[in-house]
């Protein structure tokens, strides 16, 4: 299994290199980060030349990519070439953005999977009951909803709820513009109020969509195990139905969902972008859009490395976990 994991990771290295090269060329050739400077009146050719030289923009694109790649192998993530934040250290910016998004996504995903699994199992055990119909309709509806619309609706009514709180003489509770700079402070009660107020709306909007997929998935995998021969045997032996459901069926029905969770986790970092935009979080989504708009390939490389490594590693984990949980699947 370790050999398999190592081989998989080694195979993904050339894929990663080709991916970074393609994205670097695309972003670098799509526009000029100094374009804004050039269009300003009264800027001499010399100023531009100096700016270009200090950012390394005077070199050909392929040389710039090569420099970035070699630097990266030595642990140097490089610096931004965009004007506003020129020479900002990529590693610091990207890790900051990563933690912002991570805090948001982790909570939302855990809530989504716990809720989705509970509802999926219940819907499967009581198949075609009213509960099943309601859960299925809700899941289909959430499934078909654009996440940004959910976020917009939550944000707008959140603001109205805040106004209502102010009207009855309380403080605003919900925050719709990202977490405060420099963390939370004040008494314990204040910290809890601010923390929940900051997280609740974006968490809800990510959670609602993910939860729909998990509950559908859990329901169908639970149905499959409930109808399998060994569950019928367990029932025929006279075991209590809760024991059959939890000890025999549920454990095996968990396998596909675990895999889905691992597979999803990497891509969710890229997917939180819309929620972050609506709620004004300065996370990975914001960073991606900003680096593309500013023609900043070096910053984008930092983003790409983190997301790509997450995708690769979590895909590998999904496969390994699958092989571990279900011994019939041989890995190698």
């Amino acid at each position: 299994m370790i050999r398999y994991a190592i081989r998989r990771l080694l195979i993904s290295i050339p894929v990663l290199i080709v991916g970074t090269l393609a994205v670097y060329l695309m972003v670098a050739l799509s526009g000029d980060p100094l374009g804004e400077l050039r269009s300003q009146p009264g800027v001499t050719e010399e100023t531009i030349q100096n700016a270009a030289a200090s950012l390394g923009l005077d070199k050909p694109v392929l040389v710039r990519y090569w420099d970035w790649l070699m630097g990266f192998f030595q642990g140097d993530w490089g610096f931004s070439v965009a004007l506003g934040q020129a020479r900002a250290d990529v590693f610091t910016v990207v890790t900051d953005a990563f933690w912002t998004t991570f805090r948001l996504v982790l909570g939302a995903e855990i809530l989504a999977i716990v809720l989705g699994m509970a509802i999926g199992v219940l819907a499967a055990v009581r198949q075609y009951s009213i509960f099943d119909y309601i859960a299925t309709s809700a899941a289909f509806l959430m499934f078909s909803m654009p996440i940004f619309c959910v976020a917009i609706v939550l944000k707008t009514y959140g603001i109205q709820f805040n106004n209502f709180l102010v009207d009855i003489g309380l403080d605003r509770w919900l925050t719709t513009a990202g977490p405060p700079e420099g963390g939370f402070s004040g008494s314990l009660g204040e910290i809890i109020a601010r923390y929940t107020g900051t997280f609740i709306l974006p968490t809800l909007s990510i959670m609602l969509i993910s939860f729909a997929a998990y509950s559908r998935f859990q329901r169908s995998s639970m149905l499959e195990t409930l109808n399998s021969d060994y569950v019928r045997t367990a029932r025929a032996k006279g075991l209590s139905s809760s024991r059959v459901i939890f000890r025999h069926a549920y454990r095996n029905a968990l396998i596909p969902v675990t895999t889905l969770f691992a597979l999803n986790f990497g891509s969710i970092f890229a997917g939180a972008i819309v929620t972050e935009t609506v709620f004004g979080w300065k996370g990975m989504g914001d960073l991606l859009v900003r680096s593309v708009r500013q023609y900043d390939p070096d910053m984008l490389m930092g983003w790409l490395m983190i997301v790509a490594v997450l995708v690769v590693v979590f895909n590998l984990i999904a496969d390994l976990v699958y092989g571990f949980l279900d011994p019939r699947i041989r890995i190698g």
Partner: protein
């Protein structure tokens, strides 16, 4: 994924008993006719009540989006009226900030969103089926290459590509469609590859190869017809996803660009008015949800219709 209101039924009975035990179906006991696979699938689909309702709703949306603009008094993108007119007889959904008639905007947005979604589904399915079948049939080097290409597409951020191409192409709808198609084929390729791997071991493929069939003939005449079920179901699901992703891209300003419009772009332009003029936001929002919901239900019905081992359990 299972469906909503259809009661349990088994495949053996599917030819004789209608869903819900409709008594008028019992006469089929008298005659036994051979049916082609397509006929069987069509019959099962027509009996899937929710899928049929969804198909009718979707057809209605398509017809309205295609034909109503021909008779509608206002043109999309036309800024003749005053801004933010409330809904009235002349403008049933009012006008937006620039004085564009919302119904006309909505019709054009629906047209483009549907058009993009269908083109994406066709394009992604064509790429995915071809590459997946090649990988599964030829194995070896081709297989490795296709699968690495799929891995590559998974790590390249779609938004970066969309932003760059759409900006340089001034947001014409087909660029958005191409960008999406290029990012949507991997799932279909995986499924096609898997099915091809198991089908290639079967005797009829060996027979075809022994009688001198070329690779393309084996793939398109022998393999693809045998996987048409999962291909169709997945193509349907791609349409539903593409509607949502196109809306998200346009909402971020990286999809269709003004003066043309799509449902996501309309939401981008009107969502700030949600608390004061909610109809401006809810009209495109409900349209997106309706389209994607009906397509999901149709996909579900198709899955049930194509599954020959249809039992109580549907994965």
């Amino acid at each position: 994924m299972a469906d909503l209101p259809t009661p349990p039924r088994s495949d053996v009975a599917a030819a004789t008993t209608g869903a819900g035990g409709d008594p008028s179906q019992h006469q089929e006991f008298d005659t036994v006719k051979a049916r082609t696979q397509a006929q069987t699938v069509l019959r099962r689909f027509l009996r899937h009540r929710l899928a049929m309702i969804s198909a009718s709703v979707l057809l209605l949306i398509v017809l309205v989006a295609v034909f109503l603009p021909l008779f509608w008094p206002h043109q999309y993108g036309n800024t003749d009226a005053a801004g933010y007119l409330p809904p009235g007889t002349d403008h049933p959904l009012g006008t937006d900030q620039l004085g564009r008639d919302m119904v006309a905007q909505l019709l054009r947005g629906t047209q483009l969103s549907l058009l993009i979604a269908f083109v994406v589904a066709i394009g992604a399915t064509a790429i995915g089926v071809t590459l997946g079948a090649l990988a599964g049939y030829l194995k070896g080097f081709t297989d490795g290459l296709v699968m690495r290409l799929a891995d590559l597409m998974l790590i390249i951020p779609q938004i970066a590509v969309a932003a760059i191409l759409v900006k340089s192409a001034q947001g014409s709808w087909w660029v958005v469609a191409v960008v999406l198609a290029v990012f949507f084929w991997m799932q279909i390729a995986r499924i096609t590859r898997g099915e091809t791997l198991s089908l290639s071991e079967r005797e009829f493929i060996e027979a075809a190869r022994a009688s001198g069939a070329t690779t393309s003939r084996v793939i398109f005449r022998h393999l693809v017809p045998n996987m048409i079920g999962s291909i169709t179901v997945n193509a349907t699901l791609v349409i539903a996803q593409a509607v949502l992703v196109e809306a998200a891209l346009s909402f971020l300003g990286l999809g269709v660009q003004a003066p043309d419009t799509s449902l996501g772009l309309i939401i981008n332009e009107t969502y700030a008015q949600l608390s004061t003029r909610p109809w401006l936001f809810f009209a495109p929002f409900v349209t997106i949800v309706l389209i994607s919901l009906t397509i999901n239900f149709i996909g579900d019905g198709l899955r049930d219709a194509f599954d020959p081992r249809q039992t109580k359990v549907r994965a």
